[in-house]
């Protein structure tokens, strides 16, 4: 395949990945890596590098918008970034020594987990329980809603912290934002309101990805010819997605379509990984 054809296919695919990723909130990496490895037969290590770069671009772009609205809990984000960057460093280091088929199988499993958790209805829970660590670290905060300012507390800080090390590790290992795992830590363990946990998770993704991207960059896994169409396509797709989201409210069928696509891709990744075709 000539470079120009390859670039155009990748640009179009990345645009669709960015669009779907932003509409469903799962991020573009989930489609980019299967697209590169299964369809275009690119070595998975290159695919992870290119995906990480697109993750940094989209999360930084949307974090810029959320931060100004005052929903993001910057202190909570900074504190948990200690955990995610440590995890990302470990993950990126392991990935370099891990063979492509194991990475593919793990990727498929995380993909299925994220798809399932994206369709499960989450119940909102705002706690006012006091935790010693959360007070010490000034993690309790508030956020604006249409009904006024809502105060919330954070609980089980250490549990959330350890879950974040794991989320960072997966992010560094697989080149995805691992937003679903971050939400498990913040929503499920630390009892943070949904709006705060999603925006804060998004805020942290860029730094987490940067911590592993520097490792990939120096090992030569970030190829300009791949990163260029991927990052441009994903960013344009995410921009289109954010415009659509403002206009329409019901994205239920898009979410289901995405879950089906992602599950098919996940099974393919696991199958190809298990049979050594990746």
């Amino acid at each position: 395949m000539s470079i120009i054809t390859f670039t155009l296919i990748l640009l179009l695919g990345s645009y669709l990945a960015g669009l779907l990723g932003s509409l469903t909130g799962l991020g573009g990496g989930f489609i980019i890596i299967p697209l590169l490895t299964l369809v275009l037969h690119v070595d998975i290590h290159y695919a992870i590098g290119a995906s990480l770069i697109s993750v940094i671009a989209t999360s930084s772009g949307s974090a810029a918008a959320y931060v100004k609205e005052g929903i993001t809990n910057i202190r909570l984000g900074m504190f948990l970034e200690i955990a995610t960057t440590i995890g990302a460093l470990i993950g990126a280091t392991i990935a370099i020594y891990m063979s492509a088929n194991y990475i593919a199988i793990l990727f498929g499993c995380i993909l299925i987990f994220s798809a399932i958790s994206s369709v499960i209805k989450k119940s909102e829970h705002i706690t006012s329980e006091k935790s010693y660590l959360a007070e010490k670290l000034k993690l309790n905060s508030n956020y604006p809603t249409s009904a006024g300012v809502v105060e919330y507390s954070v609980v089980r800080v250490m549990g959330g912290f350890f879950m974040m090390i794991f989320a960072g590790l997966i992010s560094g290992l697989l080149g995805i934002g691992s937003g679903a795992l971050k939400v498990v830590a913040m929503d499920g363990i630390m009892r943070i309101p949904f709006k705060v946990s999603t925006t804060t998770s998004n805020f942290m993704i860029g730094v987490t990805a940067a911590a592993s991207a520097v490792v990939y960059l120096q090992r030569g896994y970030i190829d300009p010819g791949l990163s260029m169409p991927v990052v441009i396509g994903v960013v344009l797709g995410a921009l289109t997605g954010s415009k659509i989201l403002v206009g329409s409210k019901s994205s239920g069928w898009i979410r289901w379509m995405f879950v089906v696509v992602v599950t098919v891709l996940a099974v393919q990744m696991i199958y190809n990984g298990a049979t050594g075709k990746i």
């Binding site: 395949m1 000539s2 470079i3 120009i4 390859f6 670039t7 275009l40 037969h41 690119v42 070595d43 290590h45 290159y46 770069i53 940094i56 671009a57 999360s59 930084s60 772009g61 974090a63 810029a64 918008a65 931060v67 100004k68 005052g70 910057i74 202190r75 900074m78 504190f79 970034e81 200690i82 960057t85 990302a88 990126a92 280091t93 670290l137 000034k138 860029g206 730094v207 990805a209 940067a210 592993s212 520097v214 490792v215 990939y216 960059l217 120096q218 090992r219 030569g220 896994y221 970030i222 190829d223 300009p224 010819g225 791949l226 990163s227 260029m228 169409p229 990052v231 441009i232 960013v235």
Partner: protein, 126 residues
């Protein structure tokens, strides 16, 4: 001077992120056009991992490539700037916490920077 608050930091962080993404994507796009113009007809080589071309593996090589108008070097410079964007955000947060006299969070932010710095060094070893 009025007291520096969290809201001010949010505005600055928003701008750092927005500008960083905008500038780096523009550079990647310009580099991409040059790259396709010069190499578009060549064949791809991504099936086997070989690492990026030699001239992209050192900062000096990238800078040299930019001056020689090499598309891949310009793209790579844009990519490096993009990776630096969230790191810049952390640096600005550190400055913000110093101005708020929040020394606990100044420490936490510097610790995050140190971990990213260790990642950078670890890439070189071995």
């Amino acid at each position: 001077m009025k007291k520096f608050k969290d809201a001010d930091m949010q505005v600055i962080i928003g701008w750092v992120l927005r500008l960083g993404v905008l500038i780096s994507i523009t550079i990647v796009f310009l580099g991409g056009i040059i790259y396709l113009w010069r190499h578009g007809h060549m064949l791809t080589h991504y099936a086997i991992f070989k690492g990026v071309p030699m001239f992209l593996q050192t900062p000096g090589g990238v800078i040299n490539g930019i001056f020689n108008f090499r598309g891949q070097a310009i793209i790579q410079a844009g990519i490096i700037l993009l990776i630096a964007t969230p790191v810049m955000r952390v640096i600005f947060s550190a400055i913000g916490f110093i101005m708020e006299k929040d020394y606990l969070y100044m420490g936490i932010t510097l610790l995050v920077l140190a971990i990213i710095f260790i990642s950078m060094l670890s890439g070189h070893a071995g």
